[in-house]
């Protein structure tokens, strides 16, 4: 069973029950360099392993880049 979510503005489907940590891993990201927002709320590092994604969730995955 797949659910549809939005990641960085683009639609994606993931298996129901996918956690935030599993999403980050499945995208090939280095977890320590990424911060996650779900529906404009920060998902703390400690919550990633247990928080399951829901249909319609809007996820932001950000990292640090060069800037002034």
């Amino acid at each position: 069973m797949q659910i549809e979510i939005e990641v960085n503005g683009a639609a994606r489907t993931v298996p129901r029950g996918t956690t935030v940590a599993q999403l980050v891993e499945s995208l090939g990201l280095r977890p320590e360099l990424v911060a996650v927002e779900r529906n404009t709320q920060l998902v703390r590092r400690s919550e990633r392993g247990t928080l399951e994604l829901c249909a319609g969730d809007r996820i932001e995955l950000v990292t640090l880049v060069g800037g002034g």
Binding site: G28, A35, E37, R45, L61, V62, T63, L64, G66, G67
Partner: protein, 271 residues
């Protein structure tokens, strides 16, 4: 590396971070991460800014900027650049804190994309909230002295007035405003933005500001590494000139050599 006693200085305290270099350097616009790393090292900075952006999911994840910044050597100061309202700046600060585990944040709430001038109302609103959330907030702002007073009173750890618009290279356009800010504000005042070349840094430091934050002035110079060295030296020179105390400006000349003991026929003509 110890300097002689006659060059002694206090460290720059930004919240719980103590810096002996008063140059803060951004990491944007370099041609490569390796050039970034070298420029930071040459500049002598101990505090570098970074921005928060979406991960690009369309390409393979290569090395990260953070792989090139030694966190034992540099304090990392995440910014909220690109935010045009308080709410998104606050969210951005929270995201940065989650990655970096730092209380420091450089708050930017911008007014419009053409001028990139700070929006004072949004800046005050975001400062209040971030201080409440336990951040050590360094606030990019305009060089309005009363605005700087309000920002300091909200608990910011530094007020950072722009010398001129971001990336404009116009230098410090209103030194008198900075002088007034320095009189009115007790927290460190850092000139942030607009610095084009070494003399801009020296001039700001000679006014007595606590530090200078710059990025484009180094990164977009024809030779960034050489400019990093120039900015380092200018920051140090300006700081030492400020501490040393410049002579007052006078209208007339004042001879450096003795006016007595001149040989016959020398000296000003008798009238």
């Amino acid at each position: 590396m110890s300097s002689p006693a006659y060059l002694a200085d206090q460290p720059l305290l930004l919240g719980s971070t103590s810096l002996t270099s008063r140059l803060l350097v951004g990491t944007g616009k370099y041609s490569s991460f390796e050039e970034t790393r070298q420029a930071l090292e040459i500049s002598g900075t101990q505090c570098v800014t970074v921005a928060v952006r979406r991960v690009n999911l369309d390409k393979n994840q290569g090395p990260s900027l953070l792989d090139f910044i030694d966190r034992r050597r540099y304090a990392i100061l995440p910014n909220t650049a690109g935010c045009f309202d308080a709410a998104s700046a606050i969210r951005t600060a929270e995201l940065a804190r989650d990655v970096l585990d730092t209380k420091l944040v450089k708050l930017e709430v911008l007014g419009d994309p053409k001028t990139l001038l700070p929006d004072p109302v949004g800046t005050l609103e975001a400062t209040r909230e971030l201080v409440k959330q336990g951040f050590e907030v360094l606030v990019y702002c305009s060089d309005d002295p009363r605005l700087c007073v309000h920002i300091a009173e909200l608990g910011a750890k530094s007020v950072m007035p722009a010398g001129s618009p971001i990336g404009s290279g116009q230098g410090v356009l209103n030194p008198n405003a900075l002088r007034i800010i320095l009189e009115l504000v007790q927290v460190p005042v850092i000139v942030d933005a607009g610095v084009g070349t070494a003399s801009d840094v020296a001039l700001a430091m000679e006014l007595g500001v606590a530090g200078v934050l710059l990025n484009t002035g180094i990164a977009s110079a024809r030779e960034p590494l050489r400019m990093a060295a120039a900015m380092r030296d200018a920051c140090s020179a300006g700081r030492q000139a400020f501490l040393a105390g410049r002579i007052p400006r006078k209208l007339y000349a004042n001879a450096s050599s003795p006016t007595e003991g001149l040989i016959a026929g020398a000296g000003p003509a008798q009238r």
